[in-house]
Symmetry: C2
Subunit: 454 residues, 2 copies
């Protein structure tokens, strides 16, 4: 275990990936007997999950989010609502304080869009969470991409892609000023004899006057263990990667094994251009493990899950993600027919991506889900993870097919093998989440957020 | 115990009044050995407090809040910061999920200003909390009054008083549409065999286009136990009382015993004018109990607390509350001198309010704190509470001098007496918070929020 202030040796990081909703990424499975997805709105399944993850020495629970419905498919939210495809979706941030009561070390990461909350309010909420969790909170910074999110939050239309990142830059700038610059170290005296709690000379207004935000300050919170929460980001576009290279400490990626190297190198190079060190960023790959006692058992399990995948919900999800209505695609339509018609654009790319033997649109969408499964015995799944690790991935956001089943399978089956191989931690390092991952509790001086310090 | 749907008989209601900060209302006492105020930023004192209150069968923990610093006094926040006078102040909403993990029945009420969060985001957070707490959440609706709050949240200046209430009316209108109108009862089918979670025909956009807000919807949350959380409000101005009569289910007041009757009657009359029943509102009086084994012990305790009250922090608090800088008032200044100078306005009203024997400005500010104490044996404090109850007050927001000491004194000393007199509950009624208080879990049809239903 590395002492505080020393970067710990490279190890494989494990996050559970979930969302405060019925159905997150694998559509159509919420009705199974062996999943607790339908209980999402109550505390118990979340408390149980957090306890399980801490038993498995996971680094964090990572909660995704959206702030609108997927209504691109067939020009309305009907399909999403029918299949509980990320709607209903409760607020993820509000799980964090509850989960802190039953865990000591587990990181608690959640997604929040720069559109949904004013940065003054949000920065205060994050500081409060960082206090309540003893420094275990992480924020996944997103700029909304669903048109309905914009319409819910008072915008006529979603601002253009790059403009959204410009706004996100300013949003982070405001947050850094509040988190890093408003209360100096040593501002809090708590001098009971003198009756002085804090030294006003060391607490500062920020007086931010930007293009999107005006914030006076001072920050209402005294410094929390991490000050700035550990920052996750998942940009994949050029502008998104630039944002990632500048701000992110953990990057969430979805890549093929071959694509990992160039992707990671690109973002690390961008980080260096922003004055950071290439290895100031940890990369997390999405991975959906389907683990069986044997390979054959795992294959049978994957086949059963594949049968239950909802093609319609998958089309609705994909339509929202790519911003194009795939509602004209009949699931029973043979792909050969589409090819013969000479389809173009997104549909052509979809059809071209079909694995050999895929007959219909439905098969294709189903394989779009099951094709992301990593299927095998615990040993085989560990092998895949190790290959990603050696290719440059630091850790994984593990996607469930059933919850907590997927995580139980990993913790009881795969983790012991990864431990034997010396890849994952056997116990938690002390201190806040950033210290557990990087050896230091606060942002390093070379991070752009540190410029807000006095 | 009244069955669901039947209004329970009138009983005395008890809330603990606190704030997620070092020093809430009684300034200067945070350094005492026998208070846990300095631990406000961690979970433990709050979890312990919630368990204590549930043991005492309190109705709710009521958390106050501000979204800015008190910087009217001497034209800056220095005094507030030095004395931890409501700064630092962490977000109160984020305590709710944690407290829900250690309680089953306690109501969890918190303050949120209509300026701090967009109503779409906020309504979702409240629905999430209502789900996680099984319907125990209450919202104290406020329109900010501190100039620094406005400057923190992007406003050039605080809008005029009545405009703030107009904005609050629209804010609530948006929330009602999301909570009451977006998802019909019966929209959620969770039909596993058919693979249908919800019926899209019963989930509606709200398409609100108002003066301050534009919100498309649908609400992202399925209906929670209460739908609309139990609504607290504390308006005392004419416009504030009007708002209270229209929306509030619980009104927080600070009144003399003599003033209770007319105040309560006025708000009930306003409620009736809005089509509600006069008794659709419960009134909570602020009360600061200082309980001793005997009257003499209590007097000695109050005298000791009075000695420790911070006059400077009291002046800063009062300056912010009334919006006028009292910084020119030297605490050592004799009141007679001020009287001889013929002071006017607020200072004159302050001086005129001084109890007989008050010599200096400092004594006056100190008595402004201790004058609010209800001092006596448990029996005597119970007598005062009973007199308020018979005058028309339904319950109390109990202010601490030390925490949890004040609440321990009430629960172990005063509550048993109130129980013997048949005034307070001996056990909780089942169901959500509104059902515990009013006999029904949802807003009654005559509440204006019900108009948003389909």
């Amino acid at each position: 275990m590395a002492p505080p202030g020393v970067e710990p040796p490279r190890r494989m990081l494990l996050n559970a990936f979930s969302m405060n909703c019925v159905s997150h990424l694998q559509q159509g499975l919420w009705g199974r007997d062996d999943t607790r997805q339908r209980e999402y709105a109550s505390l118990e399944p979340w408390l149980d999950l957090a306890r399980l993850l801490e038993r498995g020495r996971f680094d964090a629970l990572f909660l995704a989010d959206v702030t609108g419905v997927y209504d691109v498919y067939r020009d309305g939210p009907e399909t999403a609502i029918r299949h509980a495809m990320q709607v209903p979706a409760n607020d993820p941030m509000l799980l964090v304080p509850a989960l802190a009561t039953v865990t000591e070390h587990l990181g608690l990461a959640f997604t929040s869009s720069v559109y949904q909350a004013h940065p003054f309010t949000f920065a205060r909420q994050l500081s409060t969470l960082d206090h309540l969790t003893d420094g275990r909170v992480a924020w996944n910074v997103v700029a909304s991409y669903l048109p309905n999110s914009a319409a819910n939050l008072g915008f006529d239309a979603l601002p253009a892609h790059d403009d959204r990142y410009d706004r996100a830059d300013e949003y982070l700038d405001v947050c850094y000023q509040l988190w890093e610059g408003s209360w100096e170290d040593g501002a809090v005296l708590a001098d009971r004899a003198a009756g002085v709690y804090a030294d006003p000379a060391r607490v500062h207004r920020i007086d931010h006057h930007g293009e999107h935000y005006r914030v006076a300050g001072p920050h209402l919170c005294e410094p929390s263990p991490q000050r700035t929460p550990l920052l996750f980001q998942a940009g994949s576009s050029d502008r998104g990667r630039e944002f990632c290279g500048r701000h992110a400490e953990c990057a969430f990626v979805i890549s093929s094994l071959d694509g990992v190297g160039p992707l990671v190198d690109d973002v690390r190079t961008r980080a260096a251009r922003h004055g950071r060190r290439p290895h100031d960023i940890r990369f997390f790959q999405a991975l959906t493990p389907v683990v069986g006692g044997t390979e054959a058992e795992a294959m049978a399990k994957a086949a059963e899950l594949g049968e239950q995948v909802s093609v319609e919900a998958g089309l609705a999800h994909l339509s929202g993600a790519v911003g194009a209505d795939l509602g004209s695609l009949d699931p029973d339509r043979p792909l050969d027919q589409l090819r013969a018609e000479g389809v173009q654009g997104l549909v052509k790319r979809l059809v071209d991506s079909a694995p050999p033997g895929t007959r219909t649109v439905g098969d294709l969408i189903r394989s779009n889900a099951t094709g992301r499964f990593t299927v095998g015995s615990a040993e085989q799944v560990a092998d895949v993870m190790e290959r990603f690790f050696h290719a440059g991935i630091d850790g994984f956001n593990l996607v469930y097919t059933t919850t907590p089943g997927t995580f139980v399978d990993v913790i009881d089956g795969v983790v012991p093998i990864l431990r034997e191989r010396g890849l994952v931690q056997t116990d938690y390092a002390p201190g806040p989440l950033r210290q557990k991952l990087f050896g230091h509790a606060r942002l390093p001086d070379r991070h752009p957020g540190a410029a807000a310090r006095r």
